[in-house]
Amino acid sequence: MRYMLLIYRDEKVYEQLSVPERGKIFQEAFDYSEARRPSGFYQGGEPLEPTGTATTVRMRNGEALMTDGPFAETKEQLAGYTIVEARDLDEVLAFATRHPLVKAGLSIEVRPIRVGPPQ
């Protein structure tokens, strides 16, 4: 079964970090995930640019309206995602709790990926 790990960070905290510091955190996370690729557990993932670059599209009075910024102003913002193939939730949670990004203070939301049409 596949799960998506949604990675959240406080961008204000992230902005305080130096470029080498950001690079170090990214590299650790990259290595951590890649180590699980050969077994088929890690299926891929990508980092996202900060929410300052986001555009949100929604319907308003029958028209598609574009707004500058993320879907919602929140304390933590979506920073990237990871897709894994796991036996059950516990396997994913064990991976997430030891994740270098969690150790670096980020949060990970685990969501099962739906199979088939909506129920």
């Binding site: 079964m1 036996r87 059950d88 939730l89 516990d90 949670l93 064990a94 969501r111 099962p112």
Partner: protein, 414 residues
């Protein structure tokens, strides 16, 4: 044993086995209901089978497979479900059905770890545990927690949907995770107990039922995880508290303090069982005792004192000292201060309370003011005691405790 008794005593055991066989809590619950309905229909005429639990498991399983077959046919989702049935009949061929359908202790252990999974909200963990292992109806659980029945039903539906959709496993956690997960399960069991024991609202009957359920779950953990010490400590703690249940409130529902309780009405059998479990939990070699075992040891000293005056406060203060190291919380410190006051002098206890007050961790906690008021009263410093009783009264929310504090306040002002 009648059908009613079997339902009450073996609900969790039968359901846990059906979940293993059918792979889904909802399907298993439905199967169990159908099996009991069939029993009500057949047993009065045919007599109770030699092994009623196996009969119910087997009947429930067949009913569920029939229903899945019918549903598959109706929905023409044949391939998926047919494969499921093929698999289960295949399994039937491989090992004899009898073997597979025999409830094994691990079934209930798997179920409690699923219900108490940290990915579920604590209130959902509690509700699910009582529903599946305790066999309580949604209405009974709703009444016990003062929640409207539809809200509780919704809570259970959501929790079960999450277990299914996010695939929370139905298994005993691996060794490296077991201690942490066991801790979470024990928190749920103790929460159920405390809800039954300390809450001042709700019908007495419902509350007693919660205490009994918690003790039953505690027994299950002790029985299924015999090498672990803390479940023994937890069960002992609950038995020892529960032994005093009848004497905690007087005829008019007012709180009776430990020292004023009628000790002849304490349940001796429960105290003996609790004390023996404390011994077992403390003597388990190698590891230092855990918080449940230590609290149970303290409860045992209270329960075994022939009179309030004979209480071994010295030993209790020492145990609180150990507890404060393994489980450092302001409430433990507060209890330690009281034990020190009783064993080494009221003034010393009062001094400890003052340092606690300065730390601020208990700001707004009525029992800190109440404890200070009590010590001041015993010291004869009535004016200061009045002040502290008033502070405690401003913070207390439990009705029985309020009445007690008001009574004390009247005593020191007159």
């Amino acid at each position: 044993m009648g059908i009613e008794e079997i339902f009450r005593a073996d609900y969790g055991r039968i359901l846990a086995t059906l979940i293993r066989l059918l792979g889904d809590i909802d399907v298993a619950e439905e199967a169990l209901q159908e099996a009991f309905a069939a029993a009500l229909e057949q047993w009065p005429a045919a007599g109770i089978p030699a092994n009623p639990v196996s009969w119910l498991v087997s009947t429930g399983r067949h009913k569920a497979i029939d229903r899945l077959r019918r549903r598959a046919w109706l929905e023409e989702k044949q391939d998926e479900i047919a494969r499921h049935i093929e698999l289960s009949t295949h399994q039937l061929d491989l090992q004899s059905a009898d073997d597979e359908e025999t409830p094994v202790p691990e079934d209930r252990l798997r179920l409690i770890f699923t219900c108490c999974h940290p990915a579920l909200a604590t209130e959902a963990q509690v509700a699910l545990t009582l529903r599946t292992l305790g066999g309580l109806s949604t209405e009974e659980i709703a009444r016990a927690f003062l929640v409207p029945a539809p809200t509780m039903a919704q809570r259970l539906v959501r929790a079960k949907a999450k277990i299914r959709t996010a695939r929370i496993p139905y298994e005993v956690p691996p060794t490296e995770a077991l201690a942490e997960r066991l801790e979470a399960a024990m928190v749920v069991v103790y929460l159920v107990f405390n809800e039954g024991y300390t809450a001042s609202f709700g019908a007495r009957l419902v509350r007693n039922e919660l205490c009994e359920q918690a003790i039953r779950l505690g027994r299950m953990l002790v029985e299924l995880l015999p090498i672990h010490a803390e479940p023994k400590g937890l069960l002992a703690l609950m038995l020892l508290h529960d032994s005093r249940r009848e004497t905690r409130l007087d005829a008019s529902g007012d709180l009776v303090l430990l020292e004023d309780q009628d000790r002849t009405r304490w349940d001796r059998a429960q105290i003996d069982e609790g004390a023996a479990l404390v011994e077992a939990a403390l003597s388990e070699g190698g590891r230092p005792p855990g918080p449940y075992a230590l609290q149970a040891a303290i409860a045992a000293l209270h329960a075994q004192a022939a009179t309030a005056a004979a209480t071994d406060w010295q030993q209790i203060a020492a145990l609180y000292g150990v507890l404060a190291r393994v489980h450092p919380t302001p409430v433990v410190e507060l209890n330690r201060a009281v034990a020190v006051a009783m064993s080494s002098g009221l003034e010393r206890g009062l001094a400890l309370l003052d340092t606690l007050d300065g730390d601020g961790g208990l700001a707004g906690y009525h029992l800190l003011s109440a404890a200070r008021a009590e010590l001041l009263r015993r010291l004869g410093r009535h004016a200061e005691a009045v002040e502290s009783y008033r502070q405690a009264l401003a913070l207390v929310s439990n009705e029985a405790e309020r009445k007690h504090l008001e009574k004390r306040l009247r005593e020191v002002t007159s």
